[in-house]
Amino acid sequence: MDNIAYERPASVDEALRLAAQPGSAFIGGGTNLVDLMKGGVARPLRLIDISRLPGREIAQRPDGGLRIGAGMANSDTAQHPLVRERYPLLSRALLSGASPQLRNMATVGGNLMQRTRCPYFYDPGFGACNKREPGSGCAARGGFNRSHAILGTSEACIATHPSDMCVALAALRATVRVRGPQGERSIALADFHRLPGRTPERDTQLAPDELILSVDLPPSRFARHHAYLKVRDRASYAFALVSVAAALDMRDGSVADAALALGGVAHKPWRVPAAEQALVGAPLSDERIAAAGRLLLDGARGMGHNDFKIELARRAIARALADARDRGAAASTA
């Protein structure tokens, strides 16, 4: 690893001032950044340690929602009583990611910013990766692309976003609150991550001199009927091939609202509001589930090795929605 400068600012303002210098990178838990630095993929000149800044708490908002500080550890977020009680979908998504040790280190802000695990991005031994070296090409397109995206891809990049947490947050309609030199702004989580297009080197809408302050959740409608289904190559401690965040607001046996998003299939958490709308206004039937799946997977295209993901996602959506309906039902009779 290259030697680096290290700063530990005492305030967000000081952190933002330091970040204005080129080559700066914020470090919270470090689980992704230190790994990337060891591999020579990330080469910051200066680390700005934000792990001791304020922002490591969860607070109720006046509207009944929740504000999760960006510095909260993934584990503490998943275990927080208000999250377990009101946003169990988020707890389950967080708990299905990484390992207990990594969840104790990784922060909510860092989870949002984690980079793809595309093996061609992760290994500088491969010359072609537009995300790592813009303009160099994409080795994954003609390479081993079993884990890669089936939706929203571009000629330049077929990488997936690896987060579980973000899939639940997209379904739960979270927003990301950030601060930069111009002040604060909020970005809908569904818009926070980008599609690769011609500039896959940019993962998110966050500017280099902006810092994530919190993730804000609207009042919960999905405390009961929820499921996070993660399909992967081993039972635990692996990234998703396909994951589904599904939650239903059931009223008198009918779906009043639905939350649905996919992970492991695109450069960002994949949410299609029309697919959620297709579930609303009637009991959850096989026909409705199939319609939602068709809308969510509209335009899906395999790259060869990952063709199986289209059918896998279709089935995972159906199972997650049925699980969400049944889990809440079981809890209510218990």
Binding site: D2, T31, S75, R92, S99, P100, S236
Partner: protein
């Protein structure tokens, strides 16, 4: 001839590593040592370089109850600081990329991968390594259970497994849920599926998993309630 040498204790691997660590561990400072940068000047340098944020920084770690004043470059991981600077070889370097769990230690009581933690970021924190859990004559119950249930073969992953398992019992006692917990609103019982999920961050290439699960089950069952 070797049999003519005076009597002395036979060298041990651990003793050799510790003395070698002492010989090269010049960056371990006493509490009163000046906070100067001891790295040699590059060849041809005519004047000492002005200290910058890139140079080694003094940090204080409490490791297994003892204070360690270390001088570490920002890129040094906690794992390397423990092994190379503090001379504690019990924590093992496996993959060094956060994928195997061999380097698991407790920081302020929480289990983490020390290979992905920068030492400068742990300044002031309390670290517990396998050396701090028990002594050969007074083993931690988890250490004793690993021996009793034959929960290892080569032993390389074992310090990380044991640190992880000790934290697991504490987490479960505090009511923490896992990905396989059926109902997030109810207390958790540590059955085999729960233990396997909660130990999934520690790989064992010898495949001692069934015995590891057994050892953890036994300790979790006898661990007193909070």
């Amino acid at each position: 001839m070797s049999h003519d040498l005076p009597d002395r204790p036979a060298p041990t691997r651990r003793g050799f590593l510790q003395s070698a660590g002492a010989a090269t561990g010049a960056l371990t400072l006493g509490a009163a040592a000046p906070a100067v940068h001891p790295a040699p000047s590059p060849p041809g340098a005519t004047a000492p370089q002005a200290p910058t944020a890139k140079t080694a920084r003094p940090i204080a770690l409490t490791v297994n109850g003892a204070r360690h004043d270390l001088l570490v470059e920002p890129r040094v991981t906690l794992l390397d600081a423990l092994r190379e600077h503090a001379g504690l070889m019990g924590t093992k370097k496996g993959c060094d990329r956060g994928q195997c769990g061999a380097c698991t230690v407790l920081v302020d009581g929480r289990r983490i991968n020390s290979c992905l933690a920068l030492a400068v970021m742990q300044d002031g924190r309390a670290i517990t390594t396998i050396e701090g859990l028990g002594r050969p004559e007074a083993l931690h119950p988890m250490q004793a259970a690993f021996i009793e249930h034959d929960a290892f073969q080569c032993g390389y992953c074992t310090p990380g497994q044991i640190c992880s398992a000790v934290a697991l019992v504490e987490e479960a006692r505090a009511g923490q849920a896992s990905a396989v917990t059926e109902d997030l609103r109810r207390p958790v019982a540590l059955d085999e599926a729960e233990i396997r999920e909660r130990m999934s961050g520690n790989l064992c290439r010898c495949g001692a998993y069934p015995h590891i699960v057994q050892a953890v089950r036994v300790v979790a069952r006898i661990a007193p309630a909070a």
